[in-house]
Structures are given as C-alpha cells and as structure tokens.
C-alpha cells in the first residue's frame, strides 16, 4: 500500500511539472489582461523544436534553449496580434495554436518523415540529490520548477515593480498608463515570459519524460491549464495546487488501469476521470470569480 501511494505521489509530481509551468505562464498572460489560447500550440511547438534541436545537435541544453526561443516568439506573436493590432484574443489565441501545431507537424514531416517518429534521444535522467528515493527521484526540471520557478513566479508577481505593473495593466490599463507604465511593453513582457514557461513545459515531455516526439504529445493539456488558471483565481499557489490535483487524479487512473481487479472498468472512463475532476472543481470554485478587470480588452488611448 505504501509503495502504491509512493508511486502515485512520484507520478503526480512528475506529471504536474508541465502543467505547473504552463499554469504559471498562462497566469502571467491573463494577469496582464490577455487570455492566451495559444498555450496548446506553444507547448506543442516547444516540445517539437526542443526535441528536433536536441536530436540534431545532440545537446539537451540546446534543445531547451530552442524551446525558450519558441516561447519568446510565440508570446511575442500573440502580443503583436492582441496588443499591437488589438485583435480579438480568442481568435488570435486559437489561430496561434493552429499555426504552431501546423508548423510543428510540418517540421516533423520534413525532418523525420512524419507519422509516429521512432527517433529517440537520450533524455534527461532522473536525479535524486538527497538520495531519499521514491517521490524524490525526479527530473532536474521538476525540481527547478517546483522549488525555484513557482516561488519565484509568485515573488515576481506580488513583490516586484514588474509584477505590480502586470497586475495593474491587467486590472485597469488606463490607470496604469496614467501612472506612467507602458501598457504595451508590460503586456509584451508578460506574454513573452509566459510563452517561455509554456514552451519549456512542452519541452519537458520530449527532453525529459519521453525522449521522443509524438503527434498527440500535449493532448489538450494546454486547455486544461486554461481551466486551472481560473480554478486558481489567477493566483500562483492555487493554480499550482490545481495542477497537482489534476495530476494526482491523472496518475491515479494511469496506475489503476494496470491494477488487478480494475481491468474490467473501461479505460476510457478512467481516462476521463481527471477531466471530470477539473470540471467539478471548476464548477465548485469557479463561481463568482473576479476576472482581471481588463480581461480580453485591448487597450487604446482615447
């Protein structure tokens, strides 16, 4: 039983890593007033270009760097569409996702002949710096995410001038502008930082967890993140807690599928379980949430 719980815990933390990264990234975008539905595509492109770069150069670090660049470009593009051009955020975000998935699949076809490529790289290994075993045996990126990125993201958002600027342009861009803050620059920055986190979250799959690229690699996790951010009420800690909750149910159902006595339960039902939990959690906690004041609204000086 202990072993079972430990297994679930280990998997929960591991599977929560890309969700936590994406959640932080999306929270930054939305706190600045921009709903970034490009997240699914950004994670996907991060996964693909991270993998392809690592495959060609033989360097995982360069793969990670490629994902960072993809995130900057994706976030910058989203900012150009929604901030500079003032385009509808839903359309821009969905368009960005379609574009990035298309580009990645096209790249996959060109480079690896498409389909379910069986090319593999040697991914990042599991590390266990404290040599405690069990749940402590994780990827370095997981350690960095939960011990550094999550607290840092909170600190930057709540305790720095940059974070205050993000929150201000997301709540009331007129007031922020009148206070001498550049709404455009702040939103660009928030979207690009957010894009990097999303793309690195995607690259986690190819560079750490799997070591290969498959076509359904992100499998809607970007959309799950959108729900988690609302569940988290645009706070870092609550959103990450939501990521862990989703991941726990996800990991549990993965494990149950191979647990004796559970094989009679249709696995599709188990597969749907984490999504049902997200919907239920959202229905319970998502009522009367206060969206950022300038959510979905492009800013123009009048």
């Amino acid at each position: 039983m202990i072993a079972f719980v430990f297994d679930i815990l280990t998997a929960t933390i591991r599977n929560a890593t890309p969700l936590a990264l994406g959640t932080i990234g999306e929270t930054y975008a939305e706190r600045s007033g921009v709903l970034n539905l490009g997240i699914e595509g950004t994670m996907y492109a991060g996964a693909f270009f991270g993998f392809a770069t690592a495959f060609w150069t033989g360097s995982l670090e360069l793969g990670l760097l490629a994902a960072v660049l993809v995130g900057l470009v994706a976030g910058g593009l989203m900012a150009f569409l929604t901030v500079t051009l003032g385009a509808n955020q839903h359309v821009s975000g969905l368009g960005l996702t379609l574009l990035l998935i298309g580009v990645s699949e096209f790249g996959n076809r060109l480079a690896f002949g498409g389909g379910q490529s069986l090319r593999r790289i040697d991914p990042y290994p599991l590390v266990d710096p404290l040599e405690l075993g069990g749940p402590f045996s994780q990827y370095a990126l997981t350690y960095v995410t939960f011990l550094a990125f999550v607290p840092l993201a909170w600190w930057v958002l709540m305790r720095t001038r940059f974070g205050l600027a993000i929150r201000a342009v997301g709540e009331d861009p007129e007031a922020a502008d009148a206070a001498g803050i550049s709404v455009f620059r702040t939103r660009y920055a928030a979207l690009m930082v957010g894009g990097v986190l999303m793309a690195v979250g995607g690259a986690f799959f190819t560079l750490a967890a799997l070591g290969s690229f498959t076509l359904d690699i992100i499998a809607g996790r970007g959309w799950v993140v959108i729900a988690l951010v609302i569940f988290g009420r645009w706070g870092i800690w609550r959103a990450v807690a939501g990521a862990l909750l989703f991941s726990a149910v996800y990991s549990l159902q993965l494990r149950l599928r191979v647990t004796p006595g559970w094989q009679d339960v249709p696995f599709e039902l188990l597969l749907a379980l984490p999504y049902l939990v997200v919907i239920a959690a959202l229905a319970l906690s998502g009522r009367n949430v206060a969206y950022p004041g300038a959510y979905l609204k492009p800013y123009r000086r009048t």
Partner: protein
C-alpha cells in the same frame, strides 16, 4: 499659471477643458503648440513625461487600480530597482496626506473606499510624486457638499505650500469661491481670462455661453396638491441589486399631478434600482407601485408603458438603437401604432419624425442614424419619444448629465412643461442645483431608504448634504406630506 495659484478653467461641456488638460498630461496628443513648465518648453508624449515635468492630474474617472491597496497604487510606476517597496509607498502616502491635511489609510483596498476618499488617494498620489502643478478635472461632481468644503480647504492648503492648481469646472459658484484667477474656454478657444475677485457670476456665465443667460422660470407649486389623488404611489418598495443584495429597503413616496419630486442622494444608494423597478426592467422585490390608482405587477416594460409611465433613462446611449434612424427610434416604444396590416407604415413613421423633429428642435434628419447625433440631440430624441405619448408619470434620471448649457436649459424647460401639462415627474439627479431648480419636493435616499423629505423651496444645502451622507434627519412635516 503661477506658483501658489488656484486657477479655474471654466467652460461648457465640449468647450475643450478636459481635452486641453489631457494634452497637458500626455493622454491626448496635440496637433500643434507647445507646453512650457517653469520656463522650459517640454515635450509631453505620455503621462510619464508629464509626471517627470512635475504635473499631476486627478481625472473625472479616477486612475486608480481598484482591487489594489492605496500603497500599491502609489508604488505603481514609481521607484527604482526590481523590488516593490510597499513600506516606502505607505510612508509616502502618510506624508502626502499630512500635507493635504486629510487622512488616508495606506493599507486599505481602493474599492473599499468611498468616492470622496478615492479622490483623496488620487491627490495624495500626485503629491507623492512631487508634482508642482496639480490638475483637477471637475473634482466636485462626485462629492456631497461637506466633502466639497473639505476639498476646498485642502486645496487652499496646498496652494499655500506653493503648488499651482488647475481647477476645471462648470460650476460658477465653486470657481468664485475657490480660485484666484479664471480662464474661460468656449468652443476650443480661450474666451477670456481674469482675476476671479474682479468678475461676477453673470459675466462668467455670459463668457461661457457666449450670450446672455436666462434662469429657469418655474411656475410655483400648486397649493394643496398633496390633497389631490397622487398619480404615482410607491409603498414599502423593496428590490435587490444584480448581486442579490438588497438595494431598496421599503421605499415609500407619492408624486401628484403637476408636481416634480426630486430624488437626491450620492449615487449607488438605490436610485438606479428605484428607476429600474419603475421602468419595468427590474422585478419588484416587495411593496406596491400604483400608477393613477392601478397597481403594477412589476418587471414588465409593456405594462409600465401601458400604465402611462414615460421613462428618460440614465444611460441615453442604451435607450436608443444607435444604428437605426431617428425616425425609427422615435416610434420604438409604440411600434404597434405605426402598422399597416403586418407591415410598418413607413409614411406615418416619417411624418411622425418630421413633426417631432420640428417640435423638439432636434438637429438631425429623420434618416440619420441616431449614433451620429450629439448627446444633447439624442436626449431630445428621447424626450420627443416619451413626451409625444403624453405620459401621466415621467421617470427621469440624470436628464442633463454631460449636456452643455444650451441643451440643459432646453431639457429642463421641457420637463417643467410636462409638469405644467399635469404630469407627475420623478426626477433622479446627482446635480443638487438641478434638483433644487426643478423640484417641488425632495426626498433623499441613503442605503436603499428614504432618509428625508423636504420642500425644495428654501431647502438647506447643508442639511441635504448631511442627509445624503446618511446623517441627520429632516422635516417630519414634509415627510408627512410625502
């Protein structure tokens, strides 16, 4: 502008006061011209440049991020380095509020503060940035009389400390009471500039309007009207806000024929909900509404129209369909009267439009889409639409907000004309001058209740202010007659 001077910028709506100051503060770009601060020409492209040049501004809509604390708002766009130093911001808030002579709590969330307090935070914000020139755009529009006094004494204190203050207003009394010099704008030009002590109200008004002004002529209240049957009776009315909290807690009053009942109060004390219930757009939460003796079920617009209520709503843009023509908007409430079989009687609609446009001096053709009209002309369209039906009861909310002096005079004279014709008028307004000029009697609303009732003639502003702030009580005699 000189150091230590309070300078009034006076003009009608649309005269260019606000635009001029937005240019100075970098919110709007000038086409040409130059701005000189302390002897040096400065290029102001954004509020950041303005702040650097020592200019601070308190706009009509506050530039505060509402879900944040006072300290966070002060820290916004200030300081250096990466860390956000809220202790420093709080200290700056305290120091600036001492200069102002008014208390401000740095840890309070802005959306928990009253409008008057938020305005203080705005001034404190500008002071904390070492502004040398402080611009206030119609700062008294949102305040009750006592708060206005407090603001004036604070501004005098700041001027004594060497600050130059621009006070934008269209209220002559305030300009005369507070300022040292005055500049009058009309139609985007400077019409004149003078030392305030050397001019009187009439001279300023004529400069502002460009022609001699006449006051409102109002027929005296009909003596003994209270003994006649009331046209609108409201008894223990209750209603909820959109969020389910109570907005009206047992409101009762009567309005008689040939009578204007003014509803005073700081906005957000139930006036909007009262108007909505009487307009049929908000369900009755309890109590009784009778129009000419007929009880309304409530929550139905057609019922309200049938009962003979005419409505001039607060949001005039939302009361018209902007893309439809003036002619269609004029028949919108009674489209059934303009049918020929199953089709619209276009000819009758156009005829109706032409006659109403002439009668109400609307500056537009029948075919013009309403959204192309000025605020004053849209209000005239609404007046025409409502008054053409000769309603027994008229529910009017903020009828002259945002209108210039000419249009305001017109709207007010039409309301008084409706009263002469025998209508009962319920007038909700945040403009005390308007209420006092038009009403026969006044009621004051505070937190969803009627906290006072008095006769408009000889009403004391100080007492009204206290009532609006939820303190004091008023004339039991008047209350009985209500």
């Amino acid at each position: 502008m000189r150091r230590g001077e309070i300078h009034a910028l006076l003009g009608e709506n649309g005269a260019g006061k606000t635009t001029l100051m937005r240019v100075v503060y970098g919110l709007t770009r000038p086409d040409s011209g130059e701005i000189v601060v302390a002897g040096r020409p400065v290029a102001i492209r954004s509020p950041k440049d303005a702040i650097a040049a020592g200019i601070g501004m308190v706009t009509q809509h506050f530039s505060l991020v509402r879900p944040m604390t006072v300290a966070e708002n002060l820290a916004l766009g200030r300081g250096s380095g990466m860390r956000l130093d809220l202790t420093l911001a709080a200290a700056a808030a305290t120091e600036a509020s001492q200069r102002l002579g008014m208390r401000v709590q740095p840890s309070a969330r802005v959306d928990s503060l009253s409008i008057g307090q938020q305005q203080r935070v705005e001034i404190v914000k500008a002071l904390a940035r070492d502004c040398r020139v402080l611009i206030l755009d119609e700062p008294t529009a949102v305040l009750v009389p006592q708060e206005v006094e407090g603001l004036f004494s604070a501004l005098r204190k700041l001027a004594a400390q060497g600050l130059a203050i621009v006070f934008i207003s269209h209220k002559l009394g305030e300009v005369l009471a507070l300022t040292d010099r005055v500049t009058v704008l009309r139609g985007g030009r400077v019409e004149g500039s003078a030392v305030t002590a050397a001019v009187d109200e009439r001279t300023l008004a004529e400069l502002m309007v460009g022609r001699p002004v006449v006051g409102q002529e109002r027929a005296p209240a009909v003596v003994g009207s209270a003994t006649r049957d009331p046209l609108l009776e409201v008894d223990s009315l209750a209603a909820n806000k959109a969020n389910g909290l109570p907005a009206l807690r047992g409101v009762s009053f009567r309005v008689h024929a040939r009578e204007v009942l003014g509803v005073a109060g700081v906005s957000g004390n139930g006036q909007s909900e009262l108007v909505e219930v009487l307009s049929g757009t908000r369900p009755l939460g309890g109590g009784l509404v009778k129009v000419a003796g007929v009880t309304l079920r409530g929550g139905s617009v057609p019922e309200v129209i049938r009962a003979g209520i005419g409505r001039i709503a607060e949001d005039r843009q939302a009361s018209v369909v902007g893309d439809l023509s003036v002619a269609y908007n004029l028949v919108l409430e009674r489209i059934d009267d303009f049918r020929k079989g199953g089709r619209l009687d276009e000819e009758a609609i156009q005829r109706n439009a032409r006659s109403l446009i002439e009668r109400f001096a609307i500056r537009a053709t029948p075919q013009a889409p309403v959204r192309t009209l000025s605020g004053g002309n849209i209000q005239k369209v609404l007046l025409a639409r409502v008054l053409a039906r000769e309603p027994k009861v008229l529910i009017v909310s903020q009828p002259t907000r945002g209108l210039d002096v000419g249009a305001t005079e017109y709207v007010r004279s039409e309301l008084l004309a409706a009263r002469e014709r025998g209508a009962a008028v319920l007038l909700v307004s945040e403009d005390l001058d308007e209420l006092l000029a038009l009403s026969d009697r006044l009621i004051v609303m505070y937190e969803g209740k009627v906290v006072g009732a008095l006769n408009a003639a000889g009403a004391d502003r100080g007492q009204l202010g206290l009532l609006m702030a939820g303190r004091g009580s008023a004339g039991a005699a008047a209350e009985q007659s209500a």
